[in-house]
């Protein structure tokens, strides 16, 4: 069965949500949002999905602080973050490149990362671009640190990193990523060549499995329809549904 790259990423992220009771998805996250909806579809309704900015998939009565309080209460089990830069200790940078504050490349900002990265047990890093520009030895600005000293209250943290090339797990004790599986058509060497930090390698490294037919059916059906409410541009481009929004 044929599938697009986006559909594969959606399926990979969804596979990382197994056993999660409540996953929340931040802004500007159409693929994580789709993955969460897919995981719910495949969980036979036992999973709760909250998509920030969505009206239908929204557990909260308040659009502001409630999600953050909810995470601190231990009621959010999984969340996604990207990273303009990610380093080998899972520090993430959502702020910019160069000497802070007047950086030559500036991104939007840290959003809730400096907080949620500490409090949500299963943080999945998702950054399609897998280059030495992104996967750096040391981030230029720590929006949120990958690990903390033992005395710092930290029930949560990063557990995985998904890119266009591969899937890493993260071991907070060792403060290192471990390459778990390579997406079809790529190799360990390619991952190494494009990664600016050192990492462990699972024995053996497997090939990331393709989406199951059930998953693909769900992605193209209810997931596509549902994500289109929050991400019309994305749904139009990837699933060809909805009206195209003006250029």
């Amino acid at each position: 069965m044929d599938f697009s790259h986006e559909e594969h990423l959606i399926a990979i992220l969804a596979s990382l949500l197994k056993g999660v009771g409540h996953v929340a998805v931040g802004v500007a996250s159409p693929i994580p949002g789709s993955a969460s909806l897919l995981a719910r579809a495949l969980s036979e309704g036992s999973m709760r999905v909250s998509i920030l900015g969505s009206r239908a998939d929204q557990a909260w009565s308040d659009t502001g602080v409630e999600m953050f309080d909810c995470a601190a209460q231990g009621r959010i089990d999984a969340f996604f973050f990207g990273g303009g830069q990610i380093d080998g200790q899972a520090n993430i940078n959502l702020v910019g490149v160069g000497d802070y504050p007047h950086q030559r490349v500036r991104w939007a900002g840290s959003f809730g990362s400096a907080y949620l990265y500490f409090l949500v047990p299963r943080i999945i890093l998702f950054r399609p671009e897998h280059t030495r520009r992104v996967m750096v030895p040391k981030v230029d600005f720590i929006s949120a640190p990958g690990t903390s000293a033992p005395n710092v209250h930290r029930p949560g943290g990063p557990t995985a990193l998904v890119t266009d090339l591969c899937l890493f797990s993260f071991d907070a004790g060792r403060r290192r990523f471990r390459l778990e599986s390579i997406h079809p058509g790529h190799s360990v060497e390619e991952v190494r060549d494009n990664t600016g930090f050192d990492f462990d390698v699972a024995e053996p490294v497997t090939e990331t499995p393709a989406p199951t037919p059930d998953a693909l059916e769900a992605i193209r059906g209810p997931v596509a329809q549902s994500i289109a409410h929050t991400y019309p541009l994305f749904a139009n481009r990837v699933f060809g549904i909805g009206e195209e929004v003006a250029p």
Binding site: W107, A114, F118, S143, N151, V152
Partner: protein
Amino acid sequence: MFRPDVDSLVASIRDGARLAVPKTEAGVSMAATRSLIGRGAKDLHLVCVPTSGLQADLLIGAGCVGVIECAGVTMDEYGAAPAFVRAVSKGSIGLVDSTCPALYAGLQAAEKGLPFMPLRGLIGSDIVGRRDDMPVIDNPFAADDPIIAVKAIQPDVALFHAPLADREGNVWIGRQRMLMTMAHAARQTLVTVEDIHDRNLLDDERYGPATIPSLYISAITLAAKGAWPLGLPGRYGEDGGHLAEYCRRAATPEGFAEYLRRNLAIEPTAAE
């Protein structure tokens, strides 16, 4: 309480004011934003609650902002905020990079008349490392448990757009509860509204719980479609074509100036 138009509302915002504005989806007074730019407001300390988009970008591009305190400035699906990105690189604005819950915590501290609120997370981030107003303190109820103290944020002015006000000056905000926190925290609260409701909103058992009492409201003016080209929840969506067009034009300083001329009928003087 009621002002005749947006310009007279905005006259209460002095240059240099610490101005709190809500995130893009929560009810941004773009009408008041255009008026601030038209007046040539200067040196605003913009507190984004907790993020911003077109509003901050326009104010920055037009030269109205001295410092921006925020957790993120983005045009969302339409891309990066062009004037913000340019201003950062040029060093023409001051930056107080924050994180969403810290901005909420700072406002909630002010709402409670507290000097600070504790906040989990943040320790070891450069958000804490790059500013001097987020010290680590000790949890008094446990040994060796450091926690961040977030300083109270008391805005001079909270400014937003809401669906409804009544004739007593009560303002209904729906589920955008950060607007309530902003009004409680700020010295002055200025509101543009879509409509005037004929009956007292506080007397209605359904509107009442999501109504900011007039006690906290300094001034109101009617501004139909006052969030345009952004959306207002439950009323109208964003004008995506306009936002995409903005991002395309504002990609250069000249294009930004052209946008102000064409769309706001404003001749930028002190803009970038």
